[in-house]
């Protein structure tokens, strides 16, 4: 058990920090520290291409696909230095962190060659087509249908909560390819281009006033027959494996964002004197402790990643961070007081902390609500009986 980094690791850190800071102080200084995922999209695409050009786009991937085969320690270091330099959140995080690793795990050599360069190269943005209006917590209740027509899959249905769909190039879609099938059986995992007449995207405005999520309507949308990942009818397994990648190194990048948010709370408390209030200090301390335990939980989870089976720390991670961030949002508003309820300008647009307060209400819902997480923990982590399905 060891937390410190080796001299070799520290050399890697120096290299990464040097390059990242140079970029953020130079050519890309106009996009330093953007927290959301929807602004300055074009410039951020340029930045992601720049990362790729210098082989920093997906360092954990194999060298042959544009990565560096980086060790866990190196990935941890890169995430830290990326955040420290103020580089913006990855606009293609779904491609780099979810689609890419899943294609690496399940794709044929031909599929890898077709999709990975676009992801690694920062030229193709991806989004995720899982949830449907009646398949939310009950994710396996997918109604979107796919059937083969010649050498193409034809897909019809409706996806919802498709984050970033409005500027994505590809979407992976879980669709029912086997007629008459029910639940997790008979689903297939398809990789589809967004730019086609059969796909329409309508933004969903959230309570914070922004629209990061979308409804995606598929009306005889098409993709090649061989744009299926894994076996036909076995898409559920691929879909679940992909969710496992959500608990990968990307959690560390996310934590850097959380660190910024907590630091902003502390700064606000210092500025208005709440930092002297013992009750507030207790709450800030709890947030500080919680953030550190997330960090060390993630390191534990990543260090044990080779161990077989789902580790406890990994199963509990989603509810942990979502709850932490929701609580941080509440604390932020307590610290800010009424000032936190006033927008800077005329538009209904929120600065970092009020936005965290509002947006974090969705954190405990998307990607599996806190209730679904507790089911998973109890059933998979503790072996308790499964929740019975009703008859319908």
């Amino acid at each position: 058990m060891k937390l410190g980094f080796s001299a070799e690791d520290e050399a890697f850190r120096a290299e990464a920090a040097d390059w990242l800071q140079g970029q953020m102080a130079g050519e890309f200084r106009d996009i330093v520290g953007i927290p959301n995922l929807v602004s300055k999209v074009e410039r951020r695409k340029e930045w992601e291409r720049q990362l790729a050009a210098h082989q920093w786009s997906c360092i954990g991937w194999p060298v042959e696909w544009g990565g560096r085969d980086a060790t866990l320690a190196q990935q941890v270091i890169f995430a830290e230095e990326y955040a420290r330099a103020g580089a913006p959140n990855r606009i293609n995080h779904i491609g780099v962190e979810l689609a890419g690793p899943t294609i690496l795990a399940f794709g044929t050599q031909e599929q890898k060659a077709r999709y990975l360069p676009g992801i690694a190269g920062g030229t193709q943005i991806w989004c995720q087509g899982y949830s449907e209006p009646n398949a939310g917590s009950d994710l396996a209740n997918v109604k979107t249908k796919a059937h083969l027509e010649g050498n193409e899959w034809v897909v019809t249905g409706q996806k919802v909560w498709t984050s970033l769909a409005h500027f994505s190039d590809y979407i992976f879609v879980v669709a029912r390819s086997e007629e008459g099938s029910k639940g997790p059986k008979g689903l297939s995992f398809l990789l589809m281009a967004m730019d086609q007449p059969g796909i329409e995207v309508r933004p969903i405005r959230q309570m914070n006033g922004e629209a990061e999520f979308n409804e995606t309507f598929l009306d005889a949308a098409r993709c090649p027959a061989d744009a299926m990942l894994g076996e036909r009818g076995q898409g559920w397994g691929v879909a679940m494996a992909l969710l496992g990648f959500e608990r990968g190194v990307s959690t560390l990048a996310q934590q850097m964002q959380f660190r910024n948010e907590l630091d902003a709370v502390i700064e606000a408390a210092r500025a208005n004197g709440k930092a002297n209030d013992p009750v507030t200090r207790q709450k800030i301390a709890r947030a500080e402790i919680g953030l550190n335990l997330m960090r060390y939980g993630a390191l534990r989870m990543l260090s044990n990643a080779d161990a077989a089976g789902l580790d406890g720390a990994a199963l509990t991670y989603k509810i942990q961070w979502a709850t932490w961030r929701r609580d941080l949002g509440e604390l932020a508003m307590e610290v800010l007081g009424q000032a936190g309820e006033i927008a800077a300008g005329e538009a209904y647009e929120w600065s970092l902390l009020p936005n965290t307060f509002l947006f974090s209400r969705s954190d405990t819902i998307y990607g599996g609500t806190n209730q679904i997480q507790r089911n998973l923990i109890a059933e998979r982590g503790l072996g308790l009986p499964r929740e019975p399905r009703g008859n319908s």
Partner: protein, 350 residues
């Protein structure tokens, strides 16, 4: 001792609940959010047709008598629909003028306030300075401040009444998280201030305001529960109504446990004020802090238990959540009110 509504109170409750349910619809509230945070038509109907805007103001002053219990009944009903009306201003400034105004002030202002011709706003304003009857300074976070015709400001040892048309007064409105009751910043530069009788004005303003907010919170919290119960019987997942899942049911039960306590809190405080009970201050601080927290908790649960649609703009859940957020921070946050409870119970910290 009879801690239940009288027949008259039950009738008022039914009347106002029906009025707000029918008129303060989501469509109208959303239209008001785009129009400065007020549904003027609703407010006019409330004042003119319902005739309850004079609650808590003596009949000789043009009011309808009655007291804080009836004010709470009204605010509870208004809150259950997140109505975009300047009720809080009336409950604070109106009460302050009725309790601490001289005859001329009452004659000038109470009639227009009760009829709805004039809108009032009030704020705690410790930073104001007075010199020769002229007020200067800045007052932030004035609820519905950009609509007000009349302001009541309460300082550390004085209270004043200022007309919005005064040349020394200017207002900047703000885009506010809760768009149904936006905040404004009022700046005074030698504005002409009429003094109110400080102690009774402040006491009445606090009682009216805290009860109004606590009762709004109660009504809002009950609405989040009712709407979520409704949703839970309609929404199916895993082949079952989601309201049949025990974890979901228990969350709703927790909401009800809080709400029933909030209901006791509101009407305890209202009764205690009406009866001049010695525990009135304890009751007011308890009600404001407990009800605000309950509303916030319940509105958060409403979002969570609605899943994805719960955090969309289209769904009403965020209206409740944002109103709850604003009630929490308005007129003293929870920690402050609880510290007042501690002072009354334990005494000052040394």
């Amino acid at each position: 001792m009879e801690f239940a509504f009288t027949e008259e109170q039950a009738m008022i409750a039914q009347t106002v609940q029906t009025f707000f349910a029918e008129n303060a619809t989501s469509e109208r509230t959303r239209a008001a959010m785009e129009a400065g945070g007020i549904d003027r038509e609703l407010w006019a109907s409330f004042c003119e047709e319902l005739g309850l805007s004079g609650i808590g103001i003596a009949e000789e002053d043009g009011g309808v008598g009655l007291g804080m219990v009836e004010l709470a009944i009204v605010a509870e009903a208004a809150g259950s629909q997140v109505s975009a009306i300047p009720l809080l201003g009336l409950a604070t400034a109106g009460q302050a003028i009725a309790a601490g105004g001289n005859i001329a002030q009452k004659e000038q202002w109470l009639g227009p306030l009760i009829s709805g011709e004039a809108i009032a706003a009030a704020a705690y304003a410790p930073a104001l300075k007075v010199e020769g009857g002229r007020l200067s300074g800045t007052v932030p976070f004035v609820a519905h401040g950009s609509l007000a015709d009349l302001f009541v400001f309460v300082g550390e040892d004085a209270a004043w009444l200022v007309a919005a048309e005064d040349a020394g007064l200017s207002v900047v409105s703000h885009t506010t998280m809760d768009q149904t009751r936006p905040l404004a910043t009022v700046t005074l530069e030698g504005a002409n201030a009429q003094a109110l009788n400080f102690a009774p004005a402040r006491e009445a303003l606090h009682a009216g305001g805290w009860i109004c907010l606590a009762a709004e919170a109660l009504g809002g919290a009950q609405a989040t529960l009712d709407r979520t119960v409704q949703y839970s019987t309609e929404r199916m997942q895993f082949g079952r109504p989601i309201g049949s899942f025990q974890a979901y049911k228990h969350r709703l039960a927790d909401m009800m446990v809080l709400i029933e306590q909030a209901r006791s809190a509101v009407y305890w405080a209202a009764c205690a004020v009406d009866e001049g009970a010695p525990e009135a201050q304890l009751a007011l601080h308890s009600a404001k802090s407990f009800c605000a927290d309950t509303y916030f908790e319940c509105a958060g649960h409403m979002i969570q238990l609605h899943g994805g649609i719960g955090f969309t703009w289209e769904h009403d859940a965020h209206l409740f959540f944002k109103r709850a957020t604003s009630i929490r921070s308005m007129m003293g946050d929870g920690d402050w009110h609880r510290e007042q409870v501690a002072r009354l119970t334990i005494g000052e910290a040394s």
